[in-house]
């Protein structure tokens, strides 16, 4: 009970004040979409507020923490520019408010990358992008940065050697670190020059064996002048394929505290305590989050969550937007039957899926809402930054 009380309090007070507004990274924003929560509770077929997706499954990095290693679906369809633009039109038609280019591939490598972002911006859908930044060169940055709500660079470590060892072939290959830093600095300068609203951050996916990189990472964020540096846990599948030892995170709490203190007015250092302290086990059994935050693979596969992209979870595969329009997938029996399955006792989120999915915050809040332990209340304050990204 004490743990639940702490969780409720934490969820109510995790906004970080920045110069540009409140930033919520370690919680959810469902209070700002309260009407959709009520409609969902009443059994209405609500559209996801946000979609997390990739435009390809390809990636030039080989991060040791990469969850894409366990996300291989049956098909690897190539997403063409027209299909990507149609997808945006379908998102707008059904009521999706934002798209995060993250998921299981490096979207900057896709030919659809720039037109997808420009088109989304034109039809009023917010776009965010997580990237290693290696192929995100000045010409591309010039084209997309004015249209993006946020960019988050995957940055596994604060030292060039640590970064290259974790994200590429070996500690000697520091050219990838140099390239990423050059592009991040370019974006930071462009943001200032054009006075853009885009939020720029770097993210460390923390595995216990990377603990010596925590402080250098925080210092790097400050030196780069990005808006934030965030440190989060590493996800693993339910079989422990990636070998993440969640029992060792507690030993790093002091270091993480120290890292947070290195933040300043310009650059916040944020630790995703909620996920880290859950140690890989969610408090919920049913999985409601995907109805608000859907995931699409860089293979075109539409599934409730990236946790289910692998062929193993084929019973939770809904469709592929390369084969048929997303708006038809959204209206299909498969979409609603699969979402309903996740809300039924046949599915147990504690044993049948990987740890701490991107829908974790929303799922935790929706579970407490349905159980009546903490109802989601409508927000009356100024919306935080990135309000359409849950």
């Amino acid at each position: 009970m004490e743990k639940l009380d702490k969780k409720i309090k934490r969820y109510a007070s995790t906004a970080i004040d920045t110069k540009e507004g409140k930033l919520i990274l370690d919680s959810h924003k469902l209070s700002y979409h309260h009407e959709r929560v009520l409609a969902w509770e009443n059994g209405e077929r609500v559209a996801p507020i946000s979609v997390d997706m990739a435009l390809t499954r390809a990636c030039g990095a080989m991060c040791s923490f990469c969850y894409a290693m366990v996300q291989e679906p049956q098909e690897r369809s190539t997403i063409k520019v027209k299909q990507a633009l149609d997808l945006i039109d379908d998102f707008a038609e059904v009521g999706v408010k934002s798209v995060s280019l993250i998921s299981d591939g490096e979207s900057t490598l896709s030919k659809a990358y720039v037109p997808f972002i420009e088109h989304a911006s034109n039809v009023g859908i917010d776009v965010g992008n997580a990237t290693n930044g290696w192929e995100w060169e000045p010409e591309k940055i010039d084209q997309v940065l004015p249209h993006l709500t946020w960019v988050r660079f995957t940055c596994a470590a604060g030292t060039p050697e640590g970064y290259s060892r974790i994200m590429f072939k070996s500690a000697e290959h520091t050219e990838v670190f140099d390239r990423a830093m050059k592009h991040i600095k370019y974006a930071v300068d462009l943001k200032k020059k054009l006075n853009l609203k885009v939020t720029l951050g770097i993210q460390m996916v923390l595995m216990p064996e990377f603990k010596d990189e925590i402080i250098p990472f925080a210092k790097l964020a400050v030196d780069l002048g990005v808006d934030y540096g965030v440190i989060k846990h590493c996800s693993d599948d339910e079989f422990g394929t990636l070998g993440v030892d969640y029992s060792k995170y507690e030993e790093m709490y002091d270091l993480l505290d120290e890292a947070e203190k290195l933040g300043n007015e310009n650059t916040k250092i944020i630790v995703k305590w909620d996920k880290i302290q859950d140690k890989g086990k969610p408090s919920y059994k049913r999985f409601y989050g995907p109805q608000f935050l859907l995931q699409i693979s860089g293979s075109g596969l539409v599934a409730p969550s990236g946790m289910f992209f692998n062929a193993r979870y084929s019973k939770l595969h809904i469709g592929n937007f390369v084969d048929e329009r997303f708006k038809d997938i959204f209206k299909s029996d498969a979409y609603w039957k699969i979402m309903n399955y996740l809300a039924s006792p046949s599915f147990d989120a504690q044993t049948m899926m990987g740890t701490l999915p991107i829908q974790h915050y929303a799922s935790t809040a929706l579970d407490m809402h349905i159980k009546g332990t903490s109802r989601i209340q409508p927000a009356h304050d100024e919306p935080p930054l990135h309000v359409n990204f849950l």
Binding site: E41, N42, G43, R57, C59, G60, M62, S64, A68, M69, V70, Q71, E72, P73, Q74, E75, K169, D237, F239, G240, T241, L242, Y284, K285, R286, Y288, L301, V302, N310, A311, R312, Y313, S314, K315, L316, H317, I318, G319, N320, D323, E324, D333, A334, W336, K337, I338, N340, Y341, A343, S344, P345, S346, F347, D348, T351, M352, D367, I370, K371, G372
Partner: protein, 114 residues
Amino acid sequence: MKNLINKDNAFANSPEAGVEWKQKTEKERILIIEEKLKTNPKHSIFEVFNANKDAQVILKTEQSILAKERGLLLLEVEEVLKKSIEEAITVWLEPIGDKSKLRNLRGITIKSVE
């Protein structure tokens, strides 16, 4: 479609395998499932790869099934097996390993059972 989002379902435990299922050998479990699958031509494309005592059943098939069809088909198979054999049966398909040659240099091998 019935709305399953409610307090009772939120708190409910998933069904656990019964004694009868647990007492069978894996060979017997596989046999009983395969017999059931054979009774429906749509379901007979699946073979049983693994059926453990916790009623986690891994199927495999040589056939390529469209993404829009495989979810509904496998949920249907699971429902039939739950009703006819053991309520706790949970169906999965044989997993696929990462096809990225670069990431495979990490030497990660996908696990399918604990």
